[in-house]
Amino acid sequence: MSGLIYSLCALGLVMIGLYGLARAHHGLQQLLAINVMSAGVFMLLLTMAARHPPADAVPQALVLTGIVVAISALALGLALLRRLAAEEAESHD
Amino acid sequence: MSSSFWPLAVLMSSALPGLVIFFIPETRRTLRSLLNIGAALVKLQLVVLLLLGLYAGETYHWQWSLMPGLTLALKVDALAGLFLILSAVLWLLTTLYAIGYLEHSPHRSRFFGFFSLCVSATAGVAMSANLFTFVIFYELLTLATWPLVVHRGTPQSLAAGRVYLRYTLISGSVLLLGAVILHGLVGTPDFVPGGYLADQGVATVWLWVVFVLLLIGLGVKAALLPLHGWLPKAMVAPAPVSALLHAVAVVKAGAFGIVRLVFEVYGIEFASEIGVTDLLLVLAAATIVYGSWRALFETDLKRRLAFSTVSQVSYVALGVALAGPFGAIGGLIHIVHQGVMKITLFLSAGNYAETLGIHKVSEMSGVGQRMPWTTAAFTLGALGMIGFPPLAGFVSKWYLGLGAWEAGANWVLAVLLVSGLLNAAYFLPLLYRAWFGPPPPAWPQPKTLSRVFETHGLLLFPPLITAMLVVLLGLFAGLNIATLGWVQWLIHREFGL
């Protein structure tokens, strides 16, 4: 039962993230939307892992790896945005 | 086991020097050039050795299991050999050319580094032994060529780079999607002559879906009709890059992928049974006529050549889609012959631009008197493209014609005829003007690049060599070591003749 709830939640997160990505006006919003989507993907993986006790360790390890990759991507995206903002400020002077 | 090391060696022979070149200081020109030329020679040597081994019946296969059911696998078979030898020879020549071309421009280490990586990715595409490996190298090729396209860093080239990325990245994800669906249906086994999809009990609808997805992925690089838009825009790249993109790396990777897809994933017989080759045939024929037609009206020399590429590369797809031995021979030969001819044309065009500042077709009047050797090379390349016997282009068109006849597709013969006439219509007036037109009182931007030759020696000899190849490949097509002999041997095995 709880498996179904969490799969639906995972789907919802991905769809909300995708919607957010499409309507985002600011780079920061795009990054947040992508991270919402990735939370959905992680949740689906963990839900699949937890179907039979004991929970499957392979998807859990995948999610751990994914969290670090996601923060790398987020940090890089933010660095790009900061650079963009700095260049824009430069060109306005 | 010993032979499994060779595909990796071929890959590394350009990838490792490429990585080293990035770290060579900008001013160490001799060191960088030596390393680059040395690597190109080593690679050529390796490929020749492998081809000899292949002819003697050796097999070369390397694989590394990434996870159960998914392996990185490289193989050198006759088809890969064809593409490898083309890329190895032309890499050597374009490297020499690029050293002369970029003599005083900035960021040369970056340029030659990515140039080498681009060739490594091409070798990877050639040697990929399954769809998964192919997709990886195909994407690497995109990433390695982008810095070359935008090398000059002008707003124009950055814009072209964006268009290029948009096309190739989207097509890359479509290709990946197709490969993933196929993986879900039948797994990812090695490419095998005759294909692995027949008798798998997969619904025809899925076979069509996968084929269309993979064709979109490959069609962008191969510049098939609705997907060709990036190619003429990418013309802002430096001449050696255009030459390499058009003759070997990107465009050919797409065409080569189509060959692998039809021959070794679906299998020719099975592909024509479910009718996917008809789709390919129509697309290829339309692209051939459309490309030639557009080339006729381009006034910029490089853009005219670009549309000519759009048209000519589809001969490969056309030959494959004819689904008979003769058509296949014609298509495969054209991979090599088109490469050699097109690189001659681009290198010559680069010489005109670099030496005299000629960019427009109209400015070529009388250039044959000022630069006779370059114009001679250009002439041979252009005549080959039109299909004059006994040049290289004639051999492939002859076999394509035979293939169309054999397949009973008379309209394809008409397409070949129309395209040949259009080729003549956009090349012959150009040649006439170059040789017999009156030279202008002053060239647009003349430079003195050499006291002995008409232009810098490194710029002059590569197109002369490739022009000679155009003649030799046509004259000696029948020898076992020439393309025709090699391809016939390959096709005999594919069709089990």
Binding site: Y19, A39, Q60, A61, A75, L76, A79, R82 | -
Partner: protein, 309 residues
């Protein structure tokens, strides 16, 4: 019941996060979302992931986002007045709906097939050198993935280093004796926690990622309190920091290569030595992860000075 409330809250927060046009609000909601998601993962029997998400996904990501927000031009998230206020085009809605349908059918299809790799993991657990299955997967069975992930982290940091432009704002960081004293007192404790998490990883939830996240926050606190932490101006530190960035990947690959010579294959270890090698790799990885994450956050600060890292 708890699950239902939790998932509804998560969805509501996610919706709010992408809907709001106030960037600051969106970030705050995102951090809260991270915390709730971490909670959801404890419900899904994934304590490792929950720990990492709480520390990295909510904590460090929040710091990064908030620090970056201060350097962005004010609110370009709203439309210019007078612009057309239509929502998404029909094309996007079509794509969105098609993807949704595909996802629903895909997820429904996996629900019925039950594949678990846990039996294989448990069958080989005794040879892996550790007793915690997740750590065994991360550092033994799928060690290559973890090594590549460290490489991704390193690569992302190098790219950020290249993108850095010295900011023009001068913001004065928090100062004061209280902060300094508190940090000095807390620091040994945090290091102890990091070491404990690392050590615990072999038999229970914990390990290099969680330990690295704690180390990262320790470094950040040092910097906030203006104590000598990550300054490259001191000669010895400079080399140390560079070694730390590269250490995780390097140690991982070297041990991986050692496996080739010992006949266990690339990224394989002989069972009797596995425990020791894993501890070595984890220590190096935790240091690297901590240092890299801290560097990423530091460089995002508005008053970060060039040459500090």
């Amino acid at each position: 019941m708890l699950d239902a409330i939790l998932t509804l809250l998560i969805l509501a927060l996610a919706w709010h996060c992408v809907r709001t046009t106030d960037l600051f609000e969106a970030i705050v909601v995102f951090i809260a979302l991270g915390m709730l998601v971490a909670l959801a993962w404890t419900r899904l029997q994934a304590p490792d992931a929950a720990l990492a998400e709480a520390a990295i996904g909510a904590g460090l990501a929040g710091a990064l986002l908030l620090a970056s927000l201060r350097q962005m031009p004010e609110m370009s998230a709203t439309r210019a007045p007078g612009a057309k206020t239509t929502g998404l085009g029909w094309f996007w809605w079509g794509l969105w709906g098609a993807l949704g349908l595909a996802l629903v059918s895909g997820v429904a299809a996996i629900q019925t097939t039950s594949v678990s790799l846990m039996p294989q993991v448990q069958a080989h657990l005794s040879d892996s050198g550790v007793t915690h299955p997740v750590t065994a997967v991360l550092l033994n069975f799928r060690a290559l993935d973890t090594a590549l992930e460290l490489a991704v982290l390193l690569w992302a940091w190098m790219a950020q280093k290249q993108l850095f432009v010295p900011g023009r704002q001068t913001v004065y960081p928090l100062q004061g004796q209280v902060l300094k004293t508190a940090v000095k007192a807390l620091l040994p404790l945090m290091v102890l926690v990091a070491v404990y998490l690392l050590w615990r990883g072999s038999s229970a939830p914990g390990g290099a990622f969680q330990s690295g996240a704690v180390l990262a926050s320790a470094w950040l606190m040092l910097w906030l309190a203006q104590l000598p932490g990550l300054s490259r101006k001191q000669g010895g530190m400079r080399l140390g920091i560079q070694a730390g960035w590269l250490g995780g990947v390097t140690v991982f690959l070297l041990v991986g290569l050692l496996g080739v010579f010992q006949g266990a294959g690339f990224m394989g270890y002989p069972p009797d030595q596995a425990g020791a090698w894993i501890l070595l790799i984890e220590s190096a990885a935790a240091l690297s992860i901590g240092l890299l994450l801290a560097s990423m956050v530091l460089v995002s600060m508005p008053d970060f000075q060039e040459g500090t890292l």
